[in-house]
Amino acid sequence: MLALDLLIQGLVQGAIYALVAVGLTLVYGLLRILHVAHAALFTLGGYLGVLVTNATGSFALALAVAMGVAGVAGIAVYRLAYRPLLGRSPLIALIASIGLFIASEEAFRIIFGAHGLSYVTPPLQAQIEIAPGISLSLARIAVVVLAVVLLSALGWLSLSTRTGVAWRASVSDPPIAQAFGIDIERVRHLNFFVGSALAGAAGVMVALLNNLVEPTMGAVPSYKALAIIVLGGLGNVRGTLVAALALGVVESFGTIYAGHLLDRDAIAFAFLILVLMLRPQGLLARS
């Protein structure tokens, strides 16, 4: 029963990782930038989720606002930070992104205080028994459902719409896509909006699970999501999803069975290094 419990915990964690990492891998696929500041939009989502829920009492509204604002903020990050640096070495953009992330953590601390915020009446706290002896909070179930719904919507958007075709074309070959009349700039805006909105949604859900948002809540996603997209094969969305779930499960089993040797992050990265030594291009290599 412990194994099943750990598996479920791992999958819930993996669903959150997936929501954060998909945006990151989309940015990488399009621009070849390791977008560390992505985690700042995750934090922004978390804060908005708590603030709007506390102000209006509607969690659904809070989720929508958080996703919308995080998405627009993502576009702003692209225009202010990355667009002027596109011709440069990706390292330059990486350091700029890290600077932006550090500054944003501090900005959250200065604006909202160092101790963080909580939901006044946290929604979705009821426990449901899903199997004999195993109960899950509604919030955890909501995390998984939300991840499945949002990522399926993304899949539908990219596979079955004209926008999606343009998007995928721009990722696989920008000059040819441009020659076919695709507005690359629009695709990039869309890309940052969608990826950042997903990160914002993840922030809201993490805030719900912990009933806490704090300025440093983006620290772990900032580097863990990098590990996940590399594990998934950099820029490969399917690979990223597989890697997110795999890492969630490896961590949840690892902390129980190897917790006396390594901490949670070290377990994740030991797994990453092991996989990369065997498969240097990640779990699913980019086609």
Binding site: Y28, R32, L34, A81, P84, L85, R88, S89, P90, L91, I92, A93, L94, I95, A96, I98, G99, L100, F101, I102, A103, S104, E105, E106, A107, I110, Y223, L226, A227, V230, L234, H260, L261, L262, D263, D265, A266, I267, A268, F269, A270, L272, I273, L276, M277, P280, Q281, G282
Partner: protein
Amino acid sequence: MAYEIIVATNVAIAILFALSLNVITGFCGQVSLGHAAFLGIGAYTSAMLTKAGMPLVLSLVPAAVLAGAVGMVVGLASLRVRHDFLAITTMGVAFLFVGIVRKQDALGGEIGIAGIPAPAFGRPGLLVLSVVCVVAFAALAVAIRRSWAGFAFESIADDEDTARLLGIDVPRFKLFAFVVGTAGAGVAGGLYAHQVRFIGPDSFGFVESVTVLAMVIVGGIGSVWGVVVAAALLSMLPQWFQLVDDYKLLLYGALLFATMRFAPDGLAGIATRALRRVRGAA
């Protein structure tokens, strides 16, 4: 004076640490997001040895050797994974180091190592030792840059496949860069441990790795002088910002961002352009 000596020693150690990464990332083009792990290996090695009675200067040798040996293993990884995959792998190595240290009681675990003995020759002596190490390493870096190895590094940084076609033994030079760079970081770690006299797993985290990479890139990738100036500036910034303590990190992050955004080729680039303008005006 005492305060100035402490600040000057901090700056010297930061310069040594940044120069050591510059060999790997600047010269040879191998991005490392986990260089703080080698600072940590050197710091722990040196601290354990001086606590057992070894003189500080002597303890720097095993610190460099051990850091260099682990660096060689990571260098082997760089033969397998490239570019961004390598950057994240090195980041993973740093998390692995911290995670292992955290769980080893022999290494002080979560609490770290306190009561590291003060150097026998006092704080001014530690400053002199640090400066000697910096000068020696800078001289080594310049010598490497001017040698055949420097040319090989540059060609690998530029285009690894072409370098291989030209008959350059790419794996050998990559390993060389990693060993030299990580051994230098090991020495910096030994000095650091005796400067602060308390080390713990959190002294060598992701932020420290990022900070040192920022020094190399703000300095202008590969430029020895640019990196020296950038390391000095960035390591002193937090001291200057003490005045506005609450906004220290906010300013630091914003400055890092602004430098990359408005001067992407770093201080070396700014200096070169300024020099050209002066010459053009004359």
